[in-house]
Amino acid sequence: MGAFKVFKSLVVDSLDTITKGSKTYHLWMGFLTLVMLIGMYCYSIQLEEGLSATGMSDRVSWGLYISNFTFLVGVAAAAVMLVMPTYVLKDIDFKQAVLIGEGLAVAALIMCLAFVVADMGGPSVLWHMIPGIGVFNFPNSMLTWDVIVLNGYLFINISIPFYILFKHYQNKEAKKSVYVLKALLYLCFGP
């Protein structure tokens, strides 16, 4: 079977798993979806009125968005620190924690990026930051370091658990050399 076919059935199976559950599970998911929709509605107000809708001012120019962002960077780092023993100390018992820990890290990182985007005055011109078509003021601006670290960290955090899951789904053993190398990259990117 080709890798793509396996991937397809992995996606189908996971969709199957996450959409089935008890009533409480569905209620909880429905509640979370509601919270997300409320958030989207509030963001639409902010897009319409500008950042004044958040109550920030020239005196308080960075507010909850940035504090949440820094907090979630910490959460992501902590989640990865939790799974590091598996990679470094070869602690088998900890293996159970790997996927949940890195899943948490991915969720935290996505929220980090979303908070940064929500904090921008002009989210529609964020392409100005993409190297090549925009101007990426790399070594000078601290914010560009943030962009690189967050996206790199997110990429690693998505790719390792995906690799392990993908192998696990096929009942294969994941190659250590692949993910230990990436785990070392963690330490470079580490908080």
Partner: protein, 375 residues
């Protein structure tokens, strides 16, 4: 059925069908169980054929282009399809290239599109600069039916602008503040002001935390002195360093400017500025049309959008034409002095050479081009 197959195949009902057509429930394998089994077999085939014909018809033998275009249809269905495609097409046409909705709408959309995807002003050639200010002028005309005059004048050679502020002369009248607001088209709703006049107690030195910069009493108040702060146009500006997209930079003549259209609104520069020189458009800036200053510069007082930074530009639209900034002209006491630091005969050079001058937070190494002095 006991085939000795070695593989497992799904029961999709195909075998049953075959058996029922080959041998039916009556047990006979040949001949007739009904009146006409042959006929029935035929009719099943025919039914299958007819069903396919009904659904895809001739398309079985065709592909690609022919399937779509070489379709039999009667007049009624042809009209139906034509009408449907016309309705869809009309929508596309009105939004893109209609002449009936007016070429203005089309031009506006074209300008907005080009403005959305233009490059960084700092990296533009002179033609591109001219192109963008032409678009902006045309856009303003299309929206308000009023003409504005916008320039993209570059820095002149051998010019370095500097500013001096006489603390002993300033009486806190704030004429500079209102002149600045009028000159630079600042948002009237949020009462944005580039200049802050701080009222401080005599004999206590600069204590910005104890200063009152929002007073509404008669000036000059007894036992107080006044000093103004604004963007100091540092020679080593920290705000320029931190911008992730280089939307702010130092021009050749020393002005620290912002490309309002390139700014992404992260407010990093605001956090980096030690002098509180930068302002952010927290909501859409609004200036009543008759009050808009129509003499504009791309980097200066043109209309801003919401969610971008702005700040004092030493009135780039005036100073590059050889005039003084609006605050200097408005000051009734002569406390403000502006000029070319590279011109040995300028007033600012005389002040720097003959007065005891100092700058704010000099230890930070930002090298502001804004000096304070006393008589």
């Amino acid at each position: 059925m006991s085939d000795n197959k070695k593989w497992y195949s799904l029961d999709l009902g195909l075998n049953n069908k075959k058996e029922s057509s080959g041998s039916c429930g009556c047990g006979k394998s040949e001949g007739s169980c009904n009146s006409s089994p042959k006929e029935e077999e035929l009719s099943a085939d025919e039914f299958y054929e007819a069903a396919i014909n009904a659904s895809i018809g001739e398309e079985r033998h065709r592909d690609g282009f022919e399937q779509v275009f070489d379709v039999k249809m009667d007049r009624r269905s042809a009209f139906k399809k034509l009408t449907a495609s016309l309705v869809i097409g009309a929508g596309a046409v009105t939004t893109s290239c209609s002449v009936t909705t007016g070429s203005d709408t089309k031009e506006k959309a074209q300008i907005d599109w080009e403005e959305q995807f233009k490059g960084n002003y700092k990296l533009m050639t002179d033609e591109e600069k001219q192109g963008t200010i032409n678009r902006l002028m045309r856009s303003y005309e299309l929206r308000t039916d009023k003409k504005i005059n916008m320039t993209a004048e570059n820095a002149a050679e051998d010019v370095l602008f500097g500013y001096a502020f006489n603390i002993s002369k300033c009486q806190g009248y704030m004429n500079c503040v209102s002149a600045c607001v009028e000159e630079n088209n600042q948002d009237r709703n949020s009462e944005m002001q580039y200049i802050r006049i701080h009222e401080m107690k005599d004999g206590e030195g600069f204590k910005f935390d104890k200063a009152d910069d929002n007073y509404y009493h008669e000036v000059p108040a007894e036992g107080h002195f006044y000093m103004g702060t604004q963007c100091f146009h540092c020679d080593n500006p920290p705000c320029v360093e931190v911008c992730p997209v280089q939307a702010t930079w130092k021009e050749e003549d020393g002005l620290v400017v912002i490309d309002y259209d390139w700014c992404v609104g992260c407010r990093y520069c605001m956090a980096a500025c030690p002098y509180d020189g930068r302002r952010f458009n927290w909501s859409k800036p609004e200036v009543p049309e008759p009050e808009v200053n129509k003499n504009q510069h791309y980097l200066g007082n043109r209309m801003r959008k919401k969610g971008v930074m702005e700040k004092c530009t030493f009135c780039v639209q005036r100073t590059r034409k050889g005039k003084n900034p609006a605050c200097v002209e408005a000051c009734p006491t002569g406390a403000r002095i502006f000029g070319n630091l590279l011109d040995p005969n300028s007033t600012i050079r005389w002040v720097l050479e003959n007065k005891k001058v100092f700058r704010l937070k000099e230890d930070l190494g930002t090298e502001p081009k804004f000096w304070y002095f006393m008589d």
